[in-house]
């Protein structure tokens, strides 16, 4: 993808997704969950994907790992990791990639760990399946090292503990240890802090930022919480209705949102220490029904600035450099 490289002035991206479409074939019909999204992740970068429920952010991450639940299917597009096409890999090669090169941390640490195996067994398993010629003792040492790294106190003793003996925050730390034990170059964190207390949230985010610096892994942070991405990510992708609405470096997005949807999201965040009496403005309406996806912009029905063309035609991306947004209002011919 030379064009993209020029634009970013960066080396070859670690992960590149192009025109990805994902559908779920349910008994009521085809739900077009992802409709042509393109983005990339550079080495060592933290990218945030923000959107509300059903916007397709989690589906995107599962599609990248080819772990879409039944009846989901990747319809078209391509995903490359280090320049290699992921979608054409054999099941075995794909498996070798998962947990080793790309790993994932899930939303609910209460249910994402297997209740019948110890934390240690589950971390060691990740090492074992990726063919490391490690002796059990070495694997154990490495797992304890990871537990220590993610800030679990007394890791030697906690190695043999079961998930139900851990608190929520500790379980999420254990999940992160498990995800990073093989030294992946990309970590996908799908709402890693949503199920946790606010104070624990901050600790987990801090931990992930610290680990990124230590390991140099790229992170995709998926969340519905703008406050979370604003702190943790260098670049933010805003998704809505299975499409990307806007993409920009973090600060740029918060200072100068271009898309009416992003602007709407900003108005929903309470400002800390501001004038004090500002009202939060909700975005009225509900997301589009992806069984019958809209022909034009998916946000049109809830948009304050909608025009007639928004109903019938899908807008292209407008913007300069690393900031782009998909909105007809940004077209040079649009009325100001």
């Amino acid at each position: 993808m030379p064009a993209m490289d020029e634009k970013n002035g960066a080396a070859r991206p670690l992960l590149a997704v192009r025109d990805l479409c994902v559908s779920f074939f349910t008994h009521v019909g085809e739900v077009k969950a992802i409709r042509g999204i393109s983005f990339h992740v550079d080495p060592g970068e933290t990218v945030g994907i923000v959107g509300e429920s059903g916007s397709g952010k989690s589906v995107t991450s599962l599609a990248v790992l080819r772990l879409l639940p039944y009846p989901g299917r990747i319809m078209s597009g391509n995903v490359t990791f280090r320049g290699e096409d992921i979608l054409s890999k054999s099941a075995g090669n794909m498996r070798a990639l998962r947990g080793n090169e790309i790993s994932m941390v899930f939303q609910d640490p209460m249910t994402s760990l297997n209740p019948v195996f110890t934390i240690g067994e589950q971390i060691v398993e990740a090492l074992a399946v990726h063919g490391g010629k490690k002796s059990p003792a070495e694997a154990r040492t490495r797992a304890i090292e990871m537990l220590n790294l993610v800030g679990i106190p007394d890791p030697e003793a906690r190695f043999g503990a079961y998930p139900h003996e851990f608190s929520g925050g500790m379980r999420q730390r254990a999940m992160i240890a498990m995800a990073l034990v093989c030294g992946p170059s990309l970590l996908i964190a799908d709402e890693p802090t949503t199920a946790l207390d606010v104070t624990i949230q901050a600790q987990i985010l801090e931990l992930m930022a610290g680990l990124r610096e230590k390991t140099g892994a790229s992170i995709i942070l998926i969340t519905h919480d703008l406050a979370v991405v604003s702190e943790a990510c260098s670049r933010i992708i805003v998704m809505y209705g299975g499409q990307i609405m806007e993409e920009a470096p973090s600060e740029e997005l918060f200072e100068n949102p271009l898309h009416p949807y992003t602007k709407g999201l900003m108005r929903c965040i309470p400002a800390f220490g501001g004038a004090g009496r500002e009202r939060l403005v909700p975005i009225p309406g509900t997301p589009p029904d992806l069984l019958k996806p809209p022909a034009g912009c998916p946000f049109v029905e809830r948009c304050r600035e909608a025009m007639r063309i928004c109903l019938s035609n899908r807008p292209a991306f407008y913007g300069e450099g690393r900031h782009r947004a998909s909105c007809w209002r940004l077209d040079p011919e649009a009325p100001k």
């Binding site: 772990l67 639940p69 498996r95 998962r98 790993s103 609910d108 249910t111 399946v129």
Partner: protein, 306 residues
């Protein structure tokens, strides 16, 4: 662990005491008695018989006498078979029932669990549908119909298996299928559905995201989590199958306990009825205790030694 077992043994003893008491008094409250016949029995004969078996004493005394015997595992004489004690009946008839029951139990597990797993792994495929069809059929056909069909097809027509007795391994095949048909179907469906439930859990997705091979996902991560309901069912099952089945033992002419159980009820053979009920209850309580201990092995969250 030891404390758990000891406290459970005490509560089992209590349960058994309740069962003994309830069965004893309910049994005596049913009209008729062991010596009631179609023909009128002369009152003096009846009196002599009742005096011999101490049935003329007040009920609470009879109860006390019975419990005294029970404490040393003396289940008393049969009221119908002259000179035969209930202990003798159990000693003679239990081996046949227990042998057939054990074979049936192993057969149910060895076929049912793999079939259920296979059905879940190959969900919605043709083999899955075939297994589900067979399992539904197996649950709906009563054992006496199944037994008769098996004899007709495999003994009478094909002449592969013998029709009665328990002398060689061949003799066990048909009765085990007849006795275990229902349980086999139930276990298959149970394993399938609890495997599928486990497969839908978040930790399965985690395992896959970790790069764990599918085989290991199924047999390590999903299977162990799906065993709890299966163990819950098959524990009491073993108590049920080794105490024999009236129908299956009747059809295959197996000299087991099932017949005595049914006969003792119609004959009001008080001691035999009590003895077999207590034996059944003890086996069932023991099976449930073992199930509780196995739970702990499977799932650390219900482990008792902490």
């Amino acid at each position: 662990m030891a404390r758990f077992v000891i406290s459970r043994v005490f509560s089992i003893a209590l349960t058994l005491a309740v069962i003994v008491t309830l069965t004893f008094f309910m049994m005596h409250s049913i009209p008729g008695g062991p010596f009631a016949q179609d023909k009128e029995v002369p009152p003096e004969v009846l009196r002599v018989l009742e005096a011999k078996y101490r049935l003329d004493e007040p009920l609470y005394v009879q109860y006390a006498n019975y419990v005294k015997g029970l404490l040393v595992w003396d289940l008393g004489p049969s009221f119908q078979k002259i000179g035969v004690s209930v202990n003798d009946i159990i000693k003679q008839s239990m081996p046949a029932s227990a042998k057939l029951g054990a074979v049936t139990f192993v057969f149910v597990l060895l076929i049912g669990i793999p079939a259920g797993i296979f059905s879940a792994v190959k969900r919605d495929s043709f083999p899955d549908q075939a297994i589900r069809f067979m399992a539904t059929l197996g649950q709906t056909i009563p054992s006496f119909v199944l037994a008769t069909l098996l004899i007709y097809i495999f003994s009478s027509r094909l002449r592969i298996f013998p029709t009665f007795g328990l002398r060689t391994w061949k003799h066990f095949v048909l009765p085990a299928i007849a006795l275990g048909g229902y349980s086999l179907s139930f276990v298959t469906r149970l394993v399938r559905s609890s495997m599928l439930e486990a497969m839908g859990q978040d930790y399965i997705r985690t395992a896959r995201a970790k790069g764990v091979p599918e085989f290991q996902v199924f047999f390590k991560h999903a299977l162990r989590n799906s065993l709890i309901p299966v163990v819950t069912y098959i524990g009491p099952l073993i108590a049920t199958v080794i105490t024999g089945s009236f129908v299956v033992e009747k059809v295959f002419a197996i000299p087991g306990m099932g017949k005595f159980f049914v006969d003792s009820i119609t004959n009001r053979d008080y001691t035999v009825l009590m003895g077999l009920t207590i034996l059944d209850a003890i086996l069932l309580c023991a099976a449930i205790l073992i199930v509780d201990l196995i739970y702990g092995l499977i799932d650390p969250r219900i482990r008792v030694d902490k």
